[in-house]
Amino acid sequence: MHWESWSAFWAMGGYGLYVWGSYGALFLFIFVEIISLLRGQTETLKRLKRMRNWEEE
């Protein structure tokens, strides 16, 4: 552990914006991909069920 304090950790030796910007962007994209994937999955199931019910009628 080589950080003197939490503020030193967040400052990243003056490169905080670039380092945290990179990691922030990465996790934002991963988060958005997971959410849209899970929503897409439930929507596909719903839509297929609707189509199936409609075919049966």
Partner: protein
């Protein structure tokens, strides 16, 4: 014989198998990400040349590797699909593309955020950066082509052709730092010689690379399950499955 790997080439069997594997890869990826981030921020020392800014490498390199690797996997499945007309191959290729595009974009974005403090520029038109940008455009182009063709069998074939033609770009990205005089640094890791970086930095990068692999597999499996249901909706097993759920 009761067990055969070929049976998993059937969408119905693969749907179940993929569903069982997703949690393992998802949790594996989450655990490796936590471990990798711990190494990246609390174990790896400050770089003597780049200070703390170098810590972007821990996500930049795995994202860039993943963007190239996913493309090669898509090219492989496209070749298999075109040669043997196997339905699942094309579905895998479609399931991987969005994740490949995300990683291609993230490699450009994190590279840009690293380039600004180190080179003084967000972007330069050097061979590595330009070929990586082309990779991102290829992903976008392939997905646009798929969504433009309604008949999915024709879309599959057209997409597979574009993927295979574009595959030439991947070795170009990989060797660009050797073939041309680039601002981008050379490879820190190669199969031929010992890595030119500290062991702890290397291990953090590799752990996050494996996390990215697991993530990609989990996400692609969830996506391919959706594609399988969509395409097999006229079959008995999907009808049964829809009734049960």
């Amino acid at each position: 014989m009761s067990f055969s790997i070929y049976k998993y080439a059937s969408p119905m069997t693969f749907y179940g198998l993929a569903g069982r594997l997703v949690p393992w890869f998802a949790w594996g990826s989450a655990l490796l990400t936590v471990l990798g981030l711990y190494i990246a921020f609390f174990m790896a020392p400050t770089d003597f040349q780049q200070g703390e800014a170098y810590r972007i490498i821990f996500i930049h390199v795995p994202a860039a590797w993943m963007s190239m690797f996913i493309y090669m996997v898509m090219a492989f499945w496209s070749a298999v699909g075109l040669a043997w007309n196997t339905r699942l191959s094309f579905m895998m290729s479609r399931a991987l593309a969005p994740t490949g595009a995300v990683f291609a974009f993230l490699s450009l974005l994190t590279g840009s955020l690293w380039g600004k403090p180190m080179w003084g520029a967000w972007w330069v038109w050097d061979a590595r950066l330009t070929s990586s940008l082309i990779l991102f455009f290829l992903y976008v182009g392939i997905m646009a082509l798929w969504s433009a063709i309604d008949d999915h069998r024709r879309g599959d074939k057209a997409g597979a052709l574009l993927i295979l033609v574009g595959a030439i770009n991947v070795p170009i990205i990989y060797f660009s730092v050797k073939w041309w005089n680039t601002l981008h640094q050379g490879a820190s890791i190669s199969l031929m010689k010992a890595p030119s970086m500290a062991a702890i930095m290397l291990s953090g990068m590799l752990v996050l690379a494996i996390a990215a692999w697991f993530y990609s597999i989990a996400v692609a499996f969830v996506r391919v399950r959706g594609i399988i249901l969509e395409r097999e909706r006229q079959t008995e097993w999907v009808k049964e499955l829809l009734e049960k759920n």
